[in-house]
């Protein structure tokens, strides 16, 4: 494992420091666009819930809170393992780096598995709008809107989770070939920032969809 991997600087940069700060700013600006991309769903949720407060409360009680909470814990843990992985990269510990990245991928897959079972259970309870939505209680349209937003938000989040797993997998593969060193670990940091963003999106999705009011 050559520690001082040759730091290749693209032609448009003057030095590695400029290249790193460009990458950092670039990923953060991209994360801001992601915040706004999901933000629209939160805005639509807020306005539609303001119009149908009771229906959203009763709909939220139909979501599976145990699986939702477990998933939140899984994702928070994956953020920890990702952070430890990035730290390992900075310290040049290649083996722990690959180890932590694989743990993160595993946790991501666990998250998706739990999500899939949740979707399966919801399908069983006829809660999927557009397919087999059936609901007898009050204000059926608004409850259907809640589940429309539920499947849209969690679906998009899962898609970003799949992309995240793909990115971390490629980084782990390159790390196992010794591509990163304390001098050059930008891709690891960038993929870590993306992973944490996907976790932050879930941090906001969880209370809004699962915990509207359980009393």
């Amino acid at each position: 494992m050559s520690d001082s991997a040759a730091v290749l600087i693209a032609r448009q940069y003057d030095d590695a420091q400029q290249q790193r700060s460009a990458a950092d700013l670039g990923i953060w600006v991209f994360l801001a666009t992601e915040v706004l991309f999901f933000g629209v769903l939160f805005a639509v949720y807020t306005m539609t819930r303001f119009n149908h407060p009771e229906a959203f409360a009763s709909a939220s009680r139909l979501t599976n809170i145990t699986l939702g909470s477990i998933n939140t814990a899984v994702l928070l843990t994956s953020s920890l393992t990702m952070a430890l992985g990035v730290r390992a990269a900075k310290l040049g510990l290649s083996r722990p780096l690959v180890g932590w990245l694989c743990t993160t991928i595993a946790l991501g897959i666990v998250f998706l598995a739990i999500k899939a079972t949740e979707y399966y259970l919801d399908y069983g309870e006829h809660l999927v709008p557009g397919l087999n939505f059936a609901y007898a209680g009050a204000d059926r349209h608004a409850v259907e809107l809640f589940f429309y937003l539920y499947f849209l938000t969690t679906g998009l989040h899962s898609l970003h989770m799949v992309i995240g797993i793909g990115v971390v997998a490629t980084i782990a593969a390159m790390a196992s070939r010794g591509a990163y060193s304390p001098a050059y670990f930008t891709p690891v940091e960038v993929s870590g920032l993306y992973w944490h963003l996907v976790d932050i999106v879930w941090i906001f999705v969880y209370p809004l969809l699962y915990l509207v009011s359980r009393s």
Binding site: E54, G137, A138, D139, R140
Partner: protein
């Protein structure tokens, strides 16, 4: 084609106040635009390349201080001016947005590419609105399909007409005559054919017109017919045995809902209760009412609402 107007007619008090604001803005805009244009031409000529105009600035520091003061001046002056103009036109806007209580009500239903209007007395009109001069008229409007917009340039007012909602628009015509009515929110293929006429008549002539129409009874009467025809009376009728909310004296009263909140029983409440019965369930009643969405047309529903308003016989002060 050769005799063409440059300024629209006006036939209401609000129209004249809007025109005054327009002329003041026109004057201000003209003043600023001509000053800028004059300065550009003047500087362009005086300071053209090679001209012998004096270009020296005596003292850089003094010039910078003056420049900064100029900069602040043409920041604050427009701000003050804009806020004044904002307040003036907002005041007219609030007058436009609040119909007087004694206004005569006409119900309007916009449908892809025609306007259906109905007076309280039951007189129906297509793409035409007859109103008396000198009396405020309030239009209660809804749409059966997409968003339309009821636009009468002569009164300088318009208001979007939304499906699933009642929007209101009011005016008080001063000058009898025949004026244009447009739909000004894009609504599909024949958007440009969804036009009509607003006929302002002397009050006496209007009464004769209203009476002469072959109206099939007042809206309330037709509403009563629909009330029986669609089977509402089966549950909500005076003699009904089914446990359903009584409608006598309901209109305008607060209604206690199953989820604890209270709502005023206005046009919207009755409209939604008929089409989306499970949206707001009255406290103490089971959600058994079927939805009439797609069966009752918007204008039949307006007549039913008028009928419910006419049921005033209940004891006052009783909370439904």
């Amino acid at each position: 084609m050769w005799s063409f107007p440059l300024f629209p007619e006006k036939a209401s008090a609000l129209a004249s106040s809007v025109d005054i604001v327009f002329f003041v803005w026109l004057a201000l805009a003209g003043l600023v635009a001509s000053t800028v244009a004059f300065l550009i031409v003047f500087f362009a000529v005086k300071y053209r390349s090679g001209s012998s105009a004096n270009r020296e600035t005596a003292d850089e520091q003094a010039q910078n201080r003056i420049n900064r003061r100029i900069e602040i001046a043409w920041m604050t002056i427009p701000l003050v001016l804009f806020m004044a103009m904002f307040a003036w036109s907002a005041e007219i806007y609030y007058d436009y947005a609040t119909p007087p209580a004694n206004a005569m009500v006409v119900y309007v239903v916009g449908k892809q590419w025609m306007w259906k209007l109905e007076h309280a007395g039951g007189r129906r009109e297509i793409d035409e609105l007859h109103v008396p001069a000198g009396r405020p008229v309030k239009l209660v409007m809804t749409s059966q399909d997409v968003i339309h917009d009821f636009f009468m340039p002569v009164f300088r007012i318009k208001q979007d007409v939304l499906p699933g909602r009642y929007t209101t628009l009011w005016f008080e015509a001063t000058k009898p005559g025949d004026y244009q009515l447009f739909c000004s929110q894009y609504c599909g293929t024949d958007h440009s054919r969804m036009v009509g006429r607003v006929v302002v008549m002397e009050p006496a002539a209007f009464e004769r017109w209203l009476a002469s129409g072959n109206s099939t009874g007042s809206m309330a009467a037709q509403g009563a017919a629909h009330f029986r025809e669609y089977g509402c009376s089966g549950c909500h009728g005076a003699s009904a045995s089914v446990h359903a909310p009584k409608l006598e004296g309901l209109f305008g009263r607060p209604v206690q809902l199953a989820d604890g909140s209270t709502v005023i029983a206005d046009d919207r409440y009755i409209h939604d209760s008929v089409l989306l019965p499970r949206k707001e369930i009255t406290a103490g009643y089971a959600p058994i009412m079927p939805s009439f969405q797609g069966q009752i047309t918007e204008d039949a529903l307006l007549e039913i609402i008028e009928y419910v308003k006419s049921l005033k016989t209940a004891q006052p002060g009783e909370v439904r």
